[in-house]
Amino acid sequence: MTLPEGLSRRTLLVKLGIAFNAAIAAVLAVPIVRYLMSPVIHERKGGYDAWVSLGNLEQFPPGQTRFATYRNPVVNPWDGTTGDIACWVRNVDGKSFQVFAINCAHLGCPVRWFPQSSLFLCPCHGGAYYQDGSRASGPPERGLFEYGYKLESGRLFIKAEEMPTPGSACKSKNSDIVREIKPCA
């Protein structure tokens, strides 16, 4: 038997050795990549379908918008205060509610409610929203993000989702993108 030119027994063994290592690396890559991608692969979804209580309905008088907080359903013991999330609850007419995320639809800064002018204002870039969460002015391209809610045994529950961002598929009545802002009259 003749070996091809330049392929001695030793170079063949080196090549086999490299191939062996490459194969092991490829096999090991599977668990490593899966581990790294674990925040994206929603394997352990537990908690994110959970309904979270915002408290008794009496805290949210009809016609008013009130500040509410809840503990995020999925927390680690070392999350500290970051596991507490704020939101705005609007009791529209005693029967229907709107629960807005605290995050501005522009870049996620915390919006503040001003009952006197019935506006949500964002301190970062000046986004403004009307009381129903629709966009009033400023850089946001849409209205405030809304959580799904239900009323049960005198309490208000919301479906706590992930932190809403402009790209995530969070529900909003006012998802029409505002193409441009007219110049000042």
């Binding site: 925040p39 994206v40 994110y48 915390p110 002018s117 301190p123």
Partner: protein, 495 residues
Amino acid sequence: MRLIKTVVDWLGVRLPIDATIQETAGHQVPRDTASWFYVFGSAALVVFMLQIITGIMLAFIYVPSAGQAWNSLQVLNHNVTLGWFIRAMHGWGSDFMVAIVLIHMVQVFLFGAYKFPRELTWVVGILLLIVTLGMAFTGQVLRFDQDAYWGLGIGASIASRVPILGPPTVNLMLGGPIIAGATLSRFFALHVFIIPGLLISFVVVHLLMVLRLGINEWPMPGRVVRKATYIKDYHELTKRDGVPFVPGAVYKDLFFGAFIIIAIAACAIYFGPFGPSGAPDPTIIQTAPRPDYFFLWLYAVLSLLPPSMETPALLIGPVIVLAGLILLPFIFGEGEKSWRRRPIAVLTILLSAVALGTLTKLAQFAPWSPVMDAWSEIPVPSEFLQNRTALERQGALVFKLKQCHNCHSLDDQGGKRGPALDAVAVRLTPDQLIRQVIQGGGNMPAYGKNLSPAETTALVAFLETLHPAGQLPARDASRTLALDPQDGTAPASKP
């Protein structure tokens, strides 16, 4: 003396690198490059070493846990002996490092040092710029205060806008669905292991290339780079008019590096450490997050772009800038090196500096942010209230109560988001004022649903008084005609 020689000889046999060190230190560099213009690269390296040392010292105390990080910084600031100083050195070192890296880059660009055969050195330099900015951003996150928390939210909101890949990228960046413990842990890993690892490897490659290819000669107008002849010319130049790097050039690097360290220490002692600002509690919403100094320009861009331009500019802009920087040496790899013969290069630097400087300066004032407590904290200047009717003063109250002051200034007090109202009556007639207040528009919310007719009347009455003493308020000429047609049809009859 004999003892030292014995030790050196003993080492030389077992650690045979003395020849390499001698060769590196003694390599010839062009005489002109022993210049104060050539000290910024080594200064960046010096600051990086300072960052490594102070960073390791901070890690002795810092707790990378969302629940405890902020508290451990308070302990560092107040309870650990000189903990504040190490924090301040690390923080100011970060600002100095970004600044020096940028200055080094401008110098290399203006001196044409990216041209053949140093294209790859430039590209590695761009990578070094990216990881340096990465260190600055992740370091800001480790401060884990209010600004860091909402800054992460801003980063996530920007990342989420990438088509399709956006939302998973956000989850990957935050380590879960919200900003929490996992987020801080992964930014700690990035700031302490991953990015420094990249930074060190890039620095090694960068330095190796500088040593092998030689320091860029001082550019002379008319001395044109050609791929065929450059390397031969360079070697002739260093042979004819060169000095050994040590001691010919290195003493300037040493002095400048030491000066920079003193400057960082002086800033650290005088200004102290950065924050931390409020605790990272997302239920405390009385906050106006601001980015650190080197990201202020981005804050300004995001505020000033029209909304429809924002996402394209955010996603395409960085790609174009990066592609331009990386392609630069491959497109302009030959030709003139001297800035005296490269007016477009000089203009590019000037334009970028003016643009970034203006945006940074603007972001320090942030005129686009409403002043959230102006309505309750800042008084209406008394000159706007003296000798006014009851209705007009009632209007001033409406102006305060409806938060108009948060976005509109009077006598330079209050928000600058909307136009100043000191002379609004000169610009808009009463009818236009009513329309603007009720319907909004031009980036102003409509107040129609939130103002009673009485409030609107009072507010507009107040706004009508806002005009300079000698200047009449605007009026609609056609209105006089419509109300009094006789006057309009026979103007000539009037004297």
